[in-house]
């Protein structure tokens, strides 16, 4: 084989190797923070679409979000989701206006688990908190906005990029 042809083949091989390495690295990145989002969709919309998988979530009073609209400390924002539905399968808490939408996804399939979850969020900017709940009647939805973040009680916080 001529040296030029051999170099071409080796070059193509290494290009393919680098492409495959990049493709393998994508799930790891997606698992951390960066998410590949289709054009025209926000990170939040894409996450909701992935969770619902074609289903429609209807707003329902049986899903309650306990949250204050003004967060005194943006680093610790308490939120509680309570579901008044006996056959709840999972509770998902999402936020918009941030680089990642999914905050927590709790499965409640075991009979010992009751459909209730509380946690503390850390927010960079005001956001709408959305609870998506999968039940035997389909997906239910409820949302509430945090309209103002008062302060962040941590010395190392300086700035945050826009989503």
């Amino acid at each position: 084989m001529h040296r030029r042809e051999w170099l071409k083949q080796v070059g193509q091989g290494s290009a393919l190797a680098s492409v495959s390495t990049a493709l393998q690295a994508q799930p790891l990145l997606a698992g951390t923070v960066l998410q590949a989002v289709p054009d025209g969709l926000s990170v939040f919309e894409h996450s909701v679409e992935q969770l619902l998988d074609g289903a429609v979530a209807s707003t329902d009073e049986r899903v309650q979000i306990h949250l204050k609209p003004i967060a005194a400390n943006s680093a610790v924002v308490p939120v509680e989701v309570v579901v008044k539905h006996k056959e709840t399968q999972q509770i998902c808490i999402l936020i918009d206006n941030h680089n990642t939408a999914l905050v927590a996804q709790l499965d409640t399939l075991h009979p010992s688990m009751l459909p209730r979850l509380s946690a503390h969020l850390q927010l960079i900017r005001p956001a709408r908190v959305v609870a998506l709940v999968q039940t035997s009647d389909g997906w239910l939805r409820q949302s509430q906005a945090i309209v103002e973040l008062r302060s962040r009680c941590e010395p190392d916080s300086v700035t945050a990029d826009k989503p």
Binding site: G31, T32, V33, A75, V76, V77, E80, I95, H98, N99, T100, A101, L102, V103, A104, Q105, L106, D107, T108, L109, H110, P111, S112, M113, L114, P115, R116, L117, S118, A119, H120, L121, Q122, L123, I124, E154, D156, S157, V158, T159, A160, D161, P163
Partner: protein
């Protein structure tokens, strides 16, 4: 090794299982005082087991507060039950903690 505190308390009509895990929970959206992006470092999953049986998994994103605290509601919990909580983070660290209900 990260410290996990598990507490079990009777609430109105259920047992509240409270979990608190020492973890920095960096979202990856913040910058330090020099303007450098602080890399993400957060819990990705918690698994809760009751008497060696998995009862729930919680998938987590980066926007949970530092040293996260969660409260779950359980029923039919009695003295002597064993609760085990396993945690996993995005740096592939993991650990577990056990608590006997008294």
């Amino acid at each position: 090794m990260r410290r996990i505190r598990i507490s079990v308390r009777d609430a109105e009509d259920f047992t509240a299982l409270r979990l608190r895990i020492d973890h920095p929970m960096e979202s990856g959206e913040r910058k330090d005082s020099l303007g450098h992006q602080i890399p993400p470092w957060f819990l990705t999953r918690l698994e809760v087991m009751l008497n060696q049986q998995a009862i729930s998994t919680i998938k987590l994103g980066p926007h949970i507060a530092k040293n996260p605290a969660f409260s779950l509601a359980l029923k039919d919990i009695k003295k002597g039950d064993e609760i085990v909580v396993k945690w996993f983070d995005n740096r592939l660290e993991s650990g577990e903690h056990k608590r006997i209900v008294n």
